[in-house]
């Protein structure tokens, strides 16, 4: 098996291997195996706390490093102008294996912490400068806004005097109060000015109102531009406020409230000259500060650019190292021998490659103690590993998402490569639509290299992942399109049609030709076209469905042979096959026979096959002579029905009976509780053997006593369910294949409707208007064709093809009781 070429038919043969790794090369070995990506390590210390394992210290150090790297990434992402991050394949690789590995890591750690220190220091000073700038900007705003306010007050002063007498004016009205104060006391009223967040302003105002019992005058204006916090990028909007009040205690209260509500106060002089002086000074200082700020920002940017140069490689190294140490933590540390014991699964075929990798790792690390690898015998079920390439990967994924195949089971993913696109195409049959998606797939395949690296987003990414499925779906759709003779709901006229329509009559006259391939174009537009295609497609779906199910059922046989369950062939496979064939196989034969008979020349009318099948059950043996298909039909049907009926108890009873007999035989020989004893004896034998060879036993062996427990009741119940499921399933699954007909019909009708509603309406129009109309309708038609017919209908056909594979076919043979092989692999790490 090991020498055979890898195949998708069964999953890879796996071996449980044990590695004995000297501690000094452990890191390099794991690194090498991670590059290879072929070993799935088992956790050999399941009882040990994560932080009590041997390499916690290293992991913690790596965590700290990765925190720093994350910090850099954050900083770079936050920067408004994009900072180039050199992609990984462009970077100088950092070598973390070999004798200098520890030193490299130390250097990297110090480098990271230096960068972090520098960056956070720069951030701090930048932040400080920003804060100061912000304060100055705010101060400038306060000065400007208050100046406006004071100016308007002093000009308005004279006219306002008149209202001074009116002392009964309500205190609440701002205009009046403004007038009174400004007019009355010539600005020797004291005031507080500052800024506050806009969202807090209403609360602030309300609180002040209550604290001062209304004894204040407050004015505020919005500051237009928002303040941006440089470290978080948040925008805050602020307001300038100025509050007049009387008395020191009140002012103190205002100040306190303002400060505790997050406001900033600025000393403003009531003297206009001093105010303009202050404004000038503030502006000057602001300019200075902005220069400094610019320089600081620049040098911070420079630092980030330097970091960006090697950030990707740091990220990579940190991630790899973390994976390595996490894997090392899974290994068992043997203190006595200063070695690490590793156990894991790997494909048997790849053991030589792993050996080479191990040797390479030893050479790299400069020691001459190579890690030792040997296979272990085990009763544990190995993981399932299907070796795929970029073509088969997507098909295999379709099957894997239903369930991972049991180890070495026949893999339906192999057959899905053809059956899946084919069933899709039966529903999607149209040369034009098939060609569109075929071209789309070709385009994706051409752009493959470029797109594989880019992040395409979820939707496009999914399509791209399935590009080879789409390619085959397109190709097959063109093929079925040729059979249906459909191209965008029109027909091709490749050969001579078998029908003539003389003198515009609607009755076709056969002219003796036979259309060579596909549907005769003469049917197109005929009144009874729908009746004909319906009958044809319905029967075809049944034929395809029964063939597909029969094939799926046959896939049981290699499984039974491989797993040495020979009795299953005649307890499961044969009755199931007979049951299926005697009812639905017979139906298919009848369909084909009915097609082959020329009913024009026959003496009787064509019988309805549906009624035939129903009466086969309801009145076995008796056939109405009017609806007889062939002679002796009654006898044949009775025999078939009897076969089917016999199959049910056969399926139901034979397997439990065989099991029962087997168990009884064992009991009669006096081997009760045999299994447990057997394993113990077995284990001690191997243990001794292991001791002799001087190598440790598999450590995780203790818990793998998975011996199947034969509970007779369970077997019976399982078989009963299985029988019922199969017999009912045969009927419902056959009916389920009718979806092939329904969807292909819907597809054809929809494309027909689309054509007549858009281009069909404008095609006959004369002149320039006609040309324009055709152009507009053509564009509309094309867009709708792609959106509705290719994408929407395509998705729906895809879904139904998926269902036919998962439910109708897989239920016939697929156990799907395995678990995925997940090797330690650096390449896979990057996918996550």
């Amino acid at each position: 098996m090991g020498d055979e070429y890898p195949t998708l038919f069964r999953s890879e043969a796996m071996s449980l291997v044990q590695l004995i790794v000297p501690t000094e090369v452990a890191h390099d070995t794991i690194a090498e195996l991670g590059e290879l990506g072929d070993v799935q390590f088992k956790d050999l210390n399941p009882d040990v706390n994560p932080f009590q394992r041997s390499y916690v210290g290293e992991i913690r150090r790596i965590d700290e490093m990765s925190r720093r790297v994350r910090f850099f990434t954050n900083q770079i992402e936050k920067e408004k102008e994009k900072i180039p991050v050199r992609p990984l394949y462009d970077c100088l690789p950092i070598v973390t294996v070999g004798p200098r590995a520890a030193q490299t890591m130390d250097e990297l750690a110090t480098k990271l912490s230096e960068h972090e220190a520098r960056l956070s220091q720069m951030n701090d000073s930048y932040q400080q400068l920003c804060d100061r700038t912000k304060e100055l900007v705010e101060a400038r705003h306060v000065l400007r806004e208050t100046a406006v306010f004071f100016d308007s007050a002093s000009t308005a002063q004279t006219e306002i005097r008149t209202s001074f007498d009116d002392s009964s004016a309500p205190l609440l009205q701002h205009d009046d109060r403004e007038a009174q104060y400004s007019g009355n006391v010539q600005f020797d009223l004291e005031f507080v000015a500052g800024t506050i967040e806009r969202s807090r302003l209403p609360t602030f105002e309300r609180v002040l109102w209550r604290v001062l019992r209304g004894n204040l005058y407050m004015n505020h204006t919005d500051i237009e531009e928002p303040f941006v916090n440089p470290s978080t990028g948040e925008e805050t909007r602020k307001n300038v406020f100025i509050i007049f009040a009387h008395g020191d205690s009140l002012l103190a209260k205002i100040r306190k409230v303002a400060e505790s509500m997050g406001g900033t106060l600025y000393p403003i002089d009531s003297n206009a000259d001093k105010r303009s002086d202050a404004l000038r000074e503030v502006t000057a200082r602001l300019e200075d500060l902005q220069v400094v700020l610019y320089n600081t920002g620049n040098s911070r940017r420079m630092e980030l650019v330097t970091i960006g140069e090697s950030l990707a490689s740091w990220q990579d190294v940190v991630r790899k190292e973390k994976m390595i140490y996490e894997t090392l933590n899974l290994l068992n540390y043997d203190v006595r021998r200063k070695t690490l014991l590793a156990e894991g699964w790997c494909p048997t075929r790849d053991i030589p490659m792993i050996q080479v990798a191990l040797r390479h790792a030893t050479e790299e690390s400069g020691t001459n103690v190579p890690p030792i690898l040997h296979e272990l015998k085990t009763t544990k079920k190995p993981p399932t590993f299907q070796r795929t390439n970029k073509f088969t990967e997507a098909f295999q994924t379709i099957m894997d998402s239903y369930g991972i195949a049991t180890y070495q089971e026949v893999n339906p993913g192999l057959f899905a490569v053809i059956t899946f696109p084919f069933l899709f195409a039966v529903m999607f049959g149209d040369i034009g639509h098939g060609f569109i998606i075929f071209c789309a797939a070709i385009w994706m395949i051409i752009r493959e290299r470029a797109w594989a690296k880019a992040d395409l987003g979820e939707i496009i990414g999914t399509f791209f992942y399935g590009r080879y499925i789409i390619l085959l779906m397109g190709a097959f759709s063109m093929y079925t399109g040729l059979i249906y003779n459909d191209i965008f709901s029109k027909t091709l006229h490749l050969f001579h049609s078998g029908w003539d329509f003389p003198n515009g009559s609607t009755d076709g006259v056969s002219n003796g030709h036979t259309y060579l391939f596909g549907l005769d174009p003469g049917w197109h537009g005929a009144e009874n076209a729908l009746i004909f295609t319906n009958s044809y497609k319905m029967k075809m779906s049944i034929v395809i469905g029964v063939i597909h199910m029969t094939f799926a059922l046959c896939l049981q046989v290699p499984n039974h042979l491989r797993f040495k369950r020979f009795s299953d062939i005649y307890t499961n496979f044969i009755p199931q096959m007979l049951f299926l064939q005697s009812i639905f196989g017979y139906l298919v034969v009848c369909i084909l026979y009915k097609w082959s008979v020329d009913w024009e020349t026959s003496s009787s009318a064509p019988p309805s096959l549906l009624n035939m099948l129903i009466s086969m059950f309801l009145s076995p043996g008796s056939i109405d002579p009017d609806s007889q298909l062939y002679r002796g039909q009654g006898t044949v049907q009775t025999i078939l029905l009897l076969i089917a009926l016999v199959c049910v108890p056969w399926l139901l009873v034979s397997k439990p009976y065989l099991q029962y007999k087997e168990m009884k035989a064992i009991k009669e020989q006096g081997y009760i509780g045999l299994q447990g004893e057997d394993t113990i004896g077995h284990a001690t034998d191997e243990q001794l053997e292991g001791e002799e060879e001087g190598n440790g036993r598999a450590i995780a062996e203790a818990d793998d006593d998975e011996g199947e427990h034969h509970d007779f009741g369970e077997v019976v119940i399982h078989q009963v369910i299985h029988t019922i499921e199969f017999c009912l399933g045969c009927i419902s699954h056959t009916a389920s294949y009718l979806r092939l007909w329904a969807l292909s019909l819907a597809h054809a009708q929809l494309s027909d409707v689309l054509w007549t509603m858009t281009i069909g309406k404008v095609l006959g129009m004369p002149g320039v208007i006609g040309t324009i109309a055709v152009a507009v309708a053509g564009v509309l038609w094309f867009i709708l064709t792609v959106a509705i017919l290719c994408i929407m209908e395509g998705l729906s056909a895809f879904l139904h093809a998926l269902r036919l594979h998962w439910v109708e076919a897989n239920s016939k043979h697929y156990e799907a009781g395995g678990y995925q092989f997940q090797p330690l692999s650096f390449a896979r790490m990057n996918e996550d």
Partner: protein, 368 residues
């Protein structure tokens, strides 16, 4: 009947909160935590729990207060999620949970202002669940009336305050009185709300709130020994609900020493256990089962501190019981309290690790 329509409004949130509850640390995880050698270990250990990587981006060394803050932040985020998805009457119920934190914040602020602490520092120390808009303005209040009229009048706390309004100056004693009056009013109001909601919510919440009220009464009594608080004043602070009310409360009002407090609690068998073991020492309290046993052995702390632990333990016990019944709101309250307790435990363990006080590390209160 409530089972019929409960899930229409609150079924989703109950599911969420029960999910959150399974994220509470288990005894096993606590065991792992107590074995940690350093705060970094602690962080690694916590990252394996539902807390996840909440500390991953903190630069080393991590202080215990950061851990507490971050853990509280987790709780607050969860609470806000619940609150914003809640409809009446659950919304009001959840609001009531925050009122307790508001009261604490108000008291913290006015005490702080009284002792002339920096307001910003005080605001940072406030519990984020109890933050309200006009809170910072509390620092200007110099007497009770001002406090009410300037700030509290527009908060939900106003109605608790109305009854206790007096023009007294703010001093330590008065603040303490305000706190307790507020709490009294709050508990009674909450109790009334739960009764109004009715059904199992009322059953379970009244049990929890009754204990809360009794605990306050006992604490007030014990703490007022040897202070200038008169007995009449003391009696007025006792909430008019709870299992000690009215009989036990009357006795508490007259109590002069701890023995009389114990006498007052004799009537309630569960409460008797608190004093039994704290006085005699060593005898495990039967009310709390095996978990209490842990604490029964640690009698080197004072009676008060020990009593407090017992109270916490019993509270945890009550809150855990709230999860045994479905179709009621008490789970929300219970979850918040349990999470709070967990944060206290975490902080305690972290503190013990940081100060290398391994011998006391087991003095936390486990939940599961």
């Amino acid at each position: 009947m409530e089972a019929l329509f409960y899930n229409v409004d609150a079924g989703f949130l109950e599911g969420i909160v029960r999910g959150y509850k399974t994220g509470l640390l288990t005894q096993n995880q606590y065991n792992n935590l107590t074995q940690c050698e350093s705060i970094e270990d602690f962080r690694t250990q916590l990252s394996a729990t539902d807390y996840g990587n909440f500390l991953a981006n903190e630069p080393l060394p991590i202080s215990t207060s950061t851990i507490a803050d971050k853990a509280t932040q987790v709780l607050v985020d969860q609470f806000n999620y619940l609150r914003s998805n809640a409809v009446e009457p659950l919304a009001t119920f959840l609001d009531y949970i925050t009122y307790a934190y508001m009261i604490d914040n108000v008291i913290l602020l006015i005490t702080g202002t009284l002792h002339e602490r920096d307001t910003h520092e005080l605001i940072e120390r406030c519990h984020p669940l109890g933050v309200f808009d006009s809170m910072p303005a509390l620092c200007v209040a110099s007497n009770v009336e001002e406090l009410y009229h300037t700030v509290l009048v527009e908060t939900p706390l106003a109605r608790f305050f109305r009854d206790s309004l007096s023009a007294a100056e703010l001093d330590d004693l008065n603040i303490e009185i305000i706190r307790n009056t507020l709490y009294k009013a709050y508990l009674e109001d909450f109790y009334a709300l739960c009764q109004k909601i009715g059904g199992p919510t009322a059953d379970i919440m009244s049990r929890i709130l009754a204990f809360e009220a009794d605990r306050r009464s006992i604490n007030i009594t014990i703490n007022s020994f040897g202070t200038e608080l008169s007995k009449e004043q003391r009696a007025r602070l006792f909430p008019a609900i709870g299992r000690l009310f009215p009989e036990g409360n009357n006795q508490l009002a007259r109590a002069d020493d701890i023995d009389q407090v114990r006498g007052a609690c004799e009537a309630v068998s569960e409460y008797r256990a608190f004093f039994d073991s704290s006085a005699t020492g060593g005898a495990p309290s039967n009310a709390n089962g095996s978990t209490a046993h842990l604490l029964g052995e640690l009698d080197d702390g004072g009676v008060g501190a020990d009593l407090e632990d017992r109270f916490f333990l019993y509270e945890v016990h009550l809150n855990k019981q709230a999860f045994l019944q479905q179709f009621q709101y008490a789970v929300f309250y219970a979850y918040i309290r349990l999470r709070e307790q967990e944060i206290r435990s975490l902080t305690w363990i972290a503190e013990c690790i940081a100060q290398d006080a391994k011998d006391r590390i087991h003095d936390f209160i486990p939940i599961f």
